[in-house]
Amino acid sequence: MSIAALAPPRSLVAELTYRCPLGCLYCSNPIDFARSQDELTTAEWQAAFAQAAQIGVLQLHLTGGEPLLRDDLTELVASAHACGLYINLITSGLGLSGSRLAALRDAGLDHVQLSLQDADEAGADQVAGARAHRRKLEVARTVARLKVPLTLNFVVHRLNLDRLGAMIDLAVGLGARRVELASAQFHGWALLNRRYLMPSRAQNDRAEALARAAAARLRGVIEVAFVRNDYLVGAPKPCMGGWGRGTIVIDPAGRALPCQAAASIPGLEFANVRTHPLGAIWRDSPAFNAWRGVAWMKEPCRSCAMRERDFGGCRCQAFALAGDPAAADPACELSPHHDAIRAALAEPSENVEPVYRAARASRAVSVARTSGKN
């Protein structure tokens, strides 16, 4: 790819910490997150934000883990705001008091995306592995009271999809401007729990129809966005809008990644913002160039009319299910590995033990992988 043709990154996802009070079954953090303990300092994050703004980043998504566990969050927001970045806080809400939110807002926070696990308290707390739902509802009311624009995000799956209508009603009642009903993406912890979380096709179809009807009925009141389950769609999602095409993720220890799951692909080396300028990482690093554009594609992607729209789907999923990160995403019906998706959909969900995201489980899985075949 020539330098002249390379567009700037537009969004930066800053994973400020992997610490989190919740243990959600579908967490997008790497399974071996407990290995990463050396978090960037305040000054190191501030330098990264300034460089990001300089190379064209417009949107900053502060996430984790739970970003509120960083004591310097307000300071980080203030300096990102001074760089002109649009700042979105992606949070469980736990630890967000009215006074802290007011300080964040006054420092330049533009928007809060609050995660809820269900419309039903018992169901929500079961998925989070913690008594959290009631406190989250209080936080949502605080966000509305302080007039900070709010998006509610529900990750949806077998255990909660039948309550989709109640989730939308809850979002309307809480004054959210947008509600995202995002089908669980089967990476990391969600892949470990896939059998437990996978909805049936009939259950998913009912939910999608309900979401479509609600989106039309509530136009002008709230935006209802349903993110589809790629296992059930038969076509791949345009993952990250294309590898190295618009987004940089920085993990808590400063590694710059093309997506939040990229470290699950063996053999990729990630440059660290502690030692490398972000612009050079974006332009030159082997990890960002690995599957940029379309030249790396194999068939059936190479000659596919969709190649510039879905970018061959998800590289992490291609590795996880086909063992080859340059293969077509097996979610695509045209993929020679699509059988892996059919087989997963045929697995029964009964008698499955869920694995909660926790440091102990993370260390156990990491040790098993290091000493085992993988």
Binding site: Y86, H111, V148
Partner: protein, 98 residues
């Protein structure tokens, strides 16, 4: 155009003073030298006319005054009032302007 189906007219169009919705702000893109409208999910590039209209969506100018300003700035044109109204209505349909 689909916006005709999507937009319901503002209930009190004559007295409406459009302003950016909460969570929406405009800034310059230093790289492209263009105005950008930023909101949680994305950023919209604005051309010169669009940026001039958005700048006047400050909660103080009624629609007619915005069209008047635009006519002064870019040269009077009989169609400009309609174009301004259409653009602001489309922005309202996307909940970027209220």
């Amino acid at each position: 155009m689909e916006r005709r189906e999507l937009t319901s007219p503002h209930p009190d169009a004559a007295r409406w003073r459009p302003r950016l919705a909460a969570g929406v702000r405009m800034r310059m893109d230093p790289a492209a030298g263009r105005a950008l409208l930023l909101f949680p999910e994305a950023a919209l590039e604005l051309n010169e006319t669009a940026a001039a209209i958005i700048r006047l969506c400050d909660g103080r100018h009624p629609l007619a005054a915005i069209a008047g300003e635009l006519a002064r700035e870019f040269g009077a044109d009989a169609k400009i009032a309609d174009e301004v109204a259409d653009f602001v209505a489309a922005m309202r349909a996307r909940r970027l302007v209220e």
